[in-house]
């Protein structure tokens, strides 16, 4: 399948600023879907609100650009009514962990077979740089001119704790790994969550001493450590580094499959 078949090329140019990492993450998603040779007519991509969530408009599938934070709620409805569709969610760090925080933990708890890709640029970029639950402590934002006093979530630990069965983290810099994690997330039967660390030079970088998008990607390279390497490294080497890799993978019953059993039982008129 031609990679361009996945795009609505007549909708370009996209809205993202120059240097934004979101195009790289969207590219990783498209490459992953392409490798899996997903049926374009049977794949639905759902997004919330924010810079990341505009990606659905550029992708040539059935796409749904929902209200703020609610991508997973809509996606749950789609998957529930048509379990044979592949459902992929695109969301941002604010959309996913602030406004949509409840939907996130309950989708993970239910282990519904949806793949969520969180475009994580640590800021509300579209609205000019308010801090999100993933803005690092002490980082500056328009709403934190003296530095953010709030500790940030580790979103991967959050969803793992809530019950997600595939959890991975990549970055715009680690593009091949990111593509692989998204591919595995889609293949996995259960709730998959991929934290895709991205850069926002316009509304995060400028306030936090980054002179360019390249510097921010350099930061992604230098401040991360792969899970394989971390296993062998000293405590000092791992300290303050962001883990990249497949962080969690297990199997337990999937939500729509469980529900299918309830439907069967009820239709047979069995006891409840």
């Amino acid at each position: 399948m031609e990679i361009l078949d996945s795009f609505r090329t007549d909708k370009f140019p996209h809205i993202w600023c120059s240097g934004c990492g979101h195009g790289i993450v969207m590219g990783a998603l498209v490459r992953a879907m392409n490798k899996l040779d997903l049926d374009h007519d049977k794949t639905v991509i759902v997004s919330g609100i924010g810079c990341s969530s505009r990606a659905t408009g550029y992708l040539n599938f059935d796409t749904l650009h929902t209200t703020h934070g609610r991508a997973l709620a809509f996606a749950t409805g789609i998957k529930f009514s048509e379990p044979e569709l592949d459902v992929i969610v695109i969301t941002g760090d604010g959309d996913c962990t602030a406004i949509g925080g409840n939907h996130l933990i309950h989708a993970a708890r239910r282990n519904i077979n949806i793949t969520t890709i969180m475009f994580n640029n640590s800021i509300y970029g579209m609205t000019s740089g308010q801090y999100s639950p993933l803005t690092p402590q002490k980082a500056k934002a328009t709403t934190a001119p003296y530095g953010n006093i709030e500790p940030n979530f580790d979103p991967c630990e959050l969803v793992q704790g809530a019950g997600a069965t595939y959890v991975a983290r990549g970055t715009a810099y680690h593009i091949k790994k990111l593509t692989r994690f998204i591919k595995r997330g889609i293949e996995h039967n259960g709730f998959s969550f991929i934290d895709a660390v991205s850069q926002c030079p316009t509304n995060f970088g400028r306030k936090n001493g980054f002179k360019s998008a390249v510097e921010m990607m350099q930061w992604q390279k230098e401040n991360t450590i792969t899970i394989e390497r971390a296993a062998k490294a000293s405590e000092k080497e791992v300290k303050n580094k962001i883990l990249v890799g497949e962080l969690h993978h297990n199997n337990r019953p999937e939500y729509t499959a469980n529900y299918e059993q309830v439907i069967e039982k009820a239709q047979k008129g069995g006891d409840n």
Partner: protein, 208 residues
């Protein structure tokens, strides 16, 4: 406070499927409406690969940030509702045929209102009840009829007066419409409504 809910049998429920497109996917405009203002809608997975957004959009479903798109969409959606008001407006009425006094209720206050109306009827007072089950489109025609028929309309509400404004704007008579309002967390008791009903009937046209 508990009561029964009756769930109709499957065969009693009419299923109406949404109109589906008959054009080829490349010619499909998901928000181009037919004459009835309802666009045929493909299901996800049907192969039409279209986009749905909460942003204002044109007939193709994509946002372009144009004021005229927003205006056209907003007016179509509004007209779709207003043009089908007879099918959407739902209400129930009790004892209104010969009523000289009416209670207009929406929501949980209907329980107290119905008890009050039945009790007042037993005492020979010509009072009826109109229960609104939908709030928009507003049951304008029904309320207009009521305004012409009865001397007094009582609107009990668990707020400081919302529905009453809609009823008042259809009334030409001063003080024809009176409210009973409660916001202390307690329910409006039938006795309070009975009292308001009697105030009207006993004073024979002098409403207060």
């Amino acid at each position: 406070m508990r009561e029964k809910v009756r769930i109709p049998a499957v065969e009693e429920i009419e299923t109406k499927d949404r109109k589906k497109p008959s054009v080829a996917p490349q010619d499909y405009e998901p928000f181009a409406a037919d004459e009835d203002l309802v666009p045929p809608m493909a299901s996800f997975g049907d192969g039409y690969r279209y986009h749905v957004t909460g942003l204002f959009h044109d007939e193709t479903g994509f946002p372009h940030g144009k004021a005229e798109d927003a205006d056209r969409l907003g007016r179509r959606l509004h007209q779709k509702i207003e043009g089908n008001r007879d099918e959407i407006v739902e209400y129930e009425s009790w004892e209104l045929e010969d009523a000289e006094i009416a209670v207009v209720a929406y929501g949980s206050v209907t329980r107290s209102a119905l008890t009050a109306v039945k009790a007042a009827r037993e005492e020979g007072i010509k009072v009826g009840l109109l229960q609104l089950k939908t709030i928009w489109p507003f049951a304008q025609e029904e309320i207009k009829e009521l305004v012409n028929q009865v001397d007094k309309i009582i609107v009990p509400e668990l707020n400081l007066g919302q529905l009453i404004g809609e009823v008042e704007r259809l009334s030409n008579l001063e003080e024809q419409v009176v409210g009973i309002n409660r916001i202390d967390g307690e329910l409006i008791k039938p006795a309070t409504i009975i009292e308001a009903i009697k105030e009207g009937s006993e004073s024979n046209g002098d409403f207060r």
